[in-house]
């Protein structure tokens, strides 16, 4: 048992009684980083240990996150700290400002200890499409961590940090959370400010927490959610008190099941039924077209967003994009080009409307929907990166939440062999509180989320 196995609330309580200090916990983070990062490659930049430990000596306990060490997917700008998006294009970029999510966490007293590896620009589901070497799965180092927030998931799973901030455009928080056995929340589009997030696909990008439990996620979300004058798409919807409302009455919850579920997820659903929840079959007929919609919309937006990296501002030419990023930029360019715009981009936007309608209909019959996150456990290194179509299909269950904007929570629910399996709970727009409560009830009754890899 180490400090990093504890929950954020437990650590915060121990800080206040003086039983342990932020220095103790952060020392443990760096021990684990030094031991395991050379194998797992979760980090692109590790902050200066001595500087961080000095900072840890002077923590004022103003929020539950004060003195809690965390890592940031390297997709967020950090003032004075290198920010790469895992691409050679930004290899030496030191930003002049910090993302809103970073500012909020700093204000809450959380301590940033490093920036994590990822698929460059968010382009991938395996964290192999990176110019900083692939991330390895801590449960089996011959397998991928998932992506694109792979390094963030690995850092939490292998106890290098208490939590992480990931970014989810088409499953990038949930997929690595599932494959590494942790919890991760894709928030409602607009719930958390995107200011300072390096854009992949602006109408789909979301900023969210990754941690060991739903309770931890609620504590983090409480601090980072809310409207931001620097992001015009951030929502004015009031931020509820997530942390006070985790105990929900499951007897009032109706869970929609749209798909045939694997054995581990079936067990999870049975467990939720034992706890009082009801289930009902629902249908999402557009689900089979979701990958096609996503791989038109996201590349179109990314071709536009990444046009700015032309060598003038950052000094690195466009030949530095990886093949996967070039593919996405070119598909997007094609879909937006004269003569193809109506056939592809506009059609995908119309199909987006149909996917939203599917969900609206389903949520008339149920409160939440339970689905797999990925079609398989974490594949072997090299399997996805060498097969672009397989790589796209890895996102098949994840992308609808981004296309429709709804929140979705990834929760671990068991193992296939030695590899973790997770499921996702999706709900209507701004239903984060309900999702966190449901997952909290499940995690109170089970131990899957407490399992960690032996390293």
């Amino acid at each position: 048992m180490m400090f990093l196995d504890l929950s954020i609330a437990e650590i915060a309580a121990k800080y206040r009684t003086g039983e342990i200090s932020p220095v103790d916990v952060i020392k443990e983070c760096f021990e684990n980083i030094e031991k395991h990062n050379p194998t797992l490659n979760a980090f692109i930049t590790i902050c200066d240990k001595h500087k961080i430990l000095d900072e840890a000596k002077n923590v004022k306990f103003v929020t539950t996150l004060s003195g809690i060490p965390y890592v940031l997917k390297d997709a967020y700008v950090t003032k004075g700290l290198r920010t790469t998006a895992a691409s050679k294009i930004l290899e030496n970029y030191i930003p002049d400002y910090s993302a809103t999510v970073v500012e909020k966490l700093t204000k809450a007293g959380a301590i940033l200890i490093g920036k994590t590896n990822m698929d460059a620009w968010g382009h991938g589901a395996s964290s192999e499409n990176t110019d900083f070497g692939p991330v390895k799965n801590p449960w089996d180092v011959s397998r991928v961590a998932g992506g694109s927030s792979g390094g963030a998931a690995v850092a939490v799973s292998s106890r290098m940090a208490m939590f992480a901030i990931g970014e989810d455009t088409g499953g990038s928080i949930r997929n690595p959370a599932g494959w590494c056995g942790i919890s991760g929340l894709k928030v409602t589009y607009g719930r958390v400010s995107r200011y300072g997030a390096i854009a992949y696909a602006s109408s789909l990008d979301t900023v969210g927490p990754m941690a060991k439990s739903s309770q931890d996620l609620a504590i983090i979300l409480q601090q980072i959610a809310g409207i931001d004058s620097y992001d015009a798409t951030s929502s004015p919807v009031i931020v509820p008190k997530y942390t006070d409302n985790l105990n929900i009455d499951l007897k009032k919850i109706k869970i929609g099941i749209p798909l045939e579920l694997g054995p581990q997820i079936k067990d999870a659903v049975s467990r939720l039924k034992e706890l009082g929840a009801h289930t009902i079959d629902v249908s999402l007929p557009m689900l089979r077209y979701a990958v096609s919609v996503y791989y038109l919309l996201a590349p179109s937006e990314t071709s536009s967003n990444l046009a700015r990296y032309d060598g003038i501002r950052y000094g690195t030419g466009r030949e530095n994009f990886t093949q996967e990023s070039m593919r996405r930029i070119m598909i997007g360019t094609y879909a937006l080009s004269a003569g193809y715009y109506d056939a592809y981009y506009k059609k995908a936007q119309a199909a987006r409307t149909k996917i939203i309608e599917d969900y609206n209909k389903a949520f008339e019959k149920c409160d939440v929907i339970i689905m797999p996150i990925s079609p398989s456990i974490a594949p072997k290194l090299g399997e996805l990166i060498s097969d672009p179509v397989k790589n796209m299909l890895a996102d098949m269950y994840a992308v609808t939440a981004n296309i429709s904007g709804i929140p979705s929570l990834a929760v671990p629910c068991g193992f296939e062999g030695k590899m973790p399996v997770g499921f996702q709970i999706q709900g209507p727009m701004f239903s984060e509180g309900l999702l966190l409560g449901l997952a909290h009830s499940y995690q109170q009754a089970t131990q899957h989320h407490e399992q960690k890899p032996t390293l």
Partner: protein, 84 residues
């Protein structure tokens, strides 16, 4: 797909080997996204964003906290007055 034309539009320098490889990958991607032609989308309004927010504006005043240092930029003569 005319790969040379798309590469030019995307401002991506491709050598012949890479162009050949990407051509194959892109064809299989196009095949996947072509699935959409099977759905009837006649008269369906396109969705470009999901927030429901419209005309989000702010007061037309300079926010000095957002003025960044000018390291690494070209400096040109001011176009607008009143940047005091």
């Amino acid at each position: 797909m005319d790969i040379a034309k798309i590469a030019k539009l995307a401002n991506l320098p491709l050598n012949d080997d890479l162009a050949k490889k990407l051509q194959k990958d892109l064809n299989s991607t196009v095949k996947l996204v072509d699935e959409l032609s099977k759905i009837d989308l006649k008269d369906v309004e396109p969705t470009s964003q999901v927030t429901g927010l419209t005309n989000v504006t702010r007061e037309d005043k300079i926010d000095k906290s957002r003025i960044l240092p000018i390291t690494g930029y070209f400096k040109v003569k001011a176009i607008f007055n009143d940047v005091s």
